[in-house]
Subunit: 428 residues, 2 copies
Amino acid sequence: MSDFIIKGDICYTADKNTLITRPDSYVVCKDGLSVGVYDTIPERYATLPVHDRGGMLVMPGMADLHIHAPQYAYRGLGMDMELLDWLNAYAFPEEAKYADMSYADRAYTIFAEAVKKSATTRLAVFGTLHREATVLLMDKLEATGVVSYVGKVNMDRNSPDDLREESAAASAEDTERFILETRDKYKNTYPIITPRFIPSCSDELMKSLGELSKKYDARVQSHLSENPSEVEWVRELCPLAENYGAAYDGFGMFGSQGKTIMAHCVYSDDREIALMKNRGVYIAHCPASNMNVASGVAPVRKYLDMDMRIGLGSDVAGGHSESVFTAMVDALQSSRLYWRLVDSSLKPLSVTEVFYMATKGGGSFFGKVGSFEEGYEFDAVVIDDSLLPHPQPLSLSERLERAIYLGGDIKALRAKYCRGREVFSSES
Amino acid sequence: MSDFIIKGDICYTADKNTLITRPDSYVVCKDGLSVGVYDTIPERYATLPVHDRGGMLVMPGMADLHIHAPQYAYRGLGMDMELLDWLNAYAFPEEAKYADMSYADRAYTIFAEAVKKSATTRLAVFGTLHREATVLLMDKLEATGVVSYVGKVNMDRNSPDDLREESAAASAEDTERFILETRDKYKNTYPIITPRFIPSCSDELMKSLGELSKKYDARVQSHLSENPSEVEWVRELCPLAENYGAAYDGFGMFGSQGKTIMAHCVYSDDREIALMKNRGVYIAHCPASNMNVASGVAPVRKYLDMDMRIGLGSDVAGGHSESVFTAMVDALQSSRLYWRLVDSSLKPLSVTEVFYMATKGGGSFFGKVGSFEEGYEFDAVVIDDSLLPHPQPLSLSERLERAIYLGGDIKALRAKYCRGREVFSSES
């Protein structure tokens, strides 16, 4: 690992309300970590090579807390129904195809290439229930240089014949094998326990997964309170649980202080929210998906005010784009509609808040990630916003805001660094 | 004007419910008009040159019924307030700068370049109140080859000192001069009467503009019922008008069967809607803007069901992007939130409906525009969606849907034709 310095117009957050902008400055990477941002290169780093990105935006890499790799194939298709119908019509038939390793290879090659070229450096990824295809996905993600948690999905009920595991025992056994096979295989890719959601997993399976999570100190990701019919269904399936979150909690898979991600949380009631807060659950806010499949809008302002753990998720393919920049814009827009249409006591989100969620908020799931403060793992993206011309002078924070709104990651991404290594360059 | 044929995968709408997809087909352009789409080249056109876009999407050019050219400079900035505050904080100070012709030249050069490279072939454009800068804008738009109506804005009250005309008479006089100066100057660019909105224009001015509209058979564009505070303000300003639309109508500037565009119509009540229907007003639906400045969501389903005239508007810079593709996605998403959060009797929009609004719906303001049916003016865009890889076979309608959602106009626009002339090519 070599140390280096990036020169550029540096933006990052200290906390959800504090955007730090350092025009024409230097961020130093040593042993894969940031040692801070400087106006001039300190004497002790004078011999390090400088990657000159003068005039370009340099910001932390994006964290995507929720994305379905197999659904990438049909992103931007068929969003004319609600969640449960949508799963049956689109998601399940597509996911069933990943029993075929040659299809999986073709599809995951496309997915990994997209991840590589995106501004994302950290991801929490759903595969399918197929262990083999999911390991292939992990091989491909490892090759991109980004850091990811990847889950073989569990489904042993309420699923089509070609996308349902034989039994709770078989599903749990396969999951243990998956964990053992992958936990030490990669430098940047880790297994994560991934029950699809309560309706797809029997109590017996959930119990076993809870035990596996404990046995291997493994992280967990799933879905929570996304859609009213889903919430109602869980109420029927788990009559003893106080709420949907409590059902996960009862199986020992809810939080463990920062080890669980729950996607959506659109319809969480006060007690579910209190439980999430208490257990340190990460909320993956997926605004595009929540609009596309007409789920609604999550009360993010409430979550931020309560200092809950929260980041953004692209939720491909409920979301149509893998871009976390798009997720930031969608989060801003949908928070404004929530304020206007639902609850005017919940103030719309600010640009600083969504930028925080996209970087440090979601990044914290992965450790000290998502900032350039001293000791943070060095993830960075370089964006050439000169492609977005303007006639007037703009401050650095204005340039950042424009780059977010105008999709600065699409054409203008010049380089990406993860854990101190350059993993993508548009020149290469 | 030379005749030609485009070969490709052709998509267009016959009406709001009918998407026509013609894979591997030929659309023939003769004398600037479409003569139809064919499976094979008809004998009588056998000698025409063929522009081979095999494997690419070929669709009508997009119509943008509402865009503010001077606001392009600050697109993607400062969307943290509602309409009236936003106008004072951002729009008015920026627009005041266009008194300076060198600033206008710099800014409008950037705007025209963006229009040229977009998938838009028809636009209804707001300038500023400055006649000279607006004529410069028209010069630049004419050079892009697209067809546009462009308005010198009228403002004689409730505006800052540096963005307010001296008097109603001076404003009207300048507008007449603007019409006379530009109405025969261009091939593809036309003047349109553009009172900013009722709050910015005195009764005396509105009366004069109504007379000018009649005298010159000139079209009209303005804003209507965008934001609750604005609607309330108009009620105070025009106590005698039954509603906001009736105020325009009283001055003879509401409809004339297809000659007026009103942007937004988020808060139009039943009587205002009935008046719009009766007068043949075009509604410019601007979903991004309505989300960005927290206006709300227009009841587009209702307008479509009533067969009202309706198209899409980017509304830069209330909207952050000039892409009508983005407007289509925003229209879909916000219609789903409207259904979920406001009125579940108003079914979300379909892809065919938003594609219709983006092409034939908005295009009809400009004549027979927005389709490849026989006799339609030949506007087309060519999109290379092979840049959006997929592992599975996709139908042509699925490819169109994906291209819309995934911003197919951003990187993948290969060529644009307007009135039978190629006006942009990514190779040129």
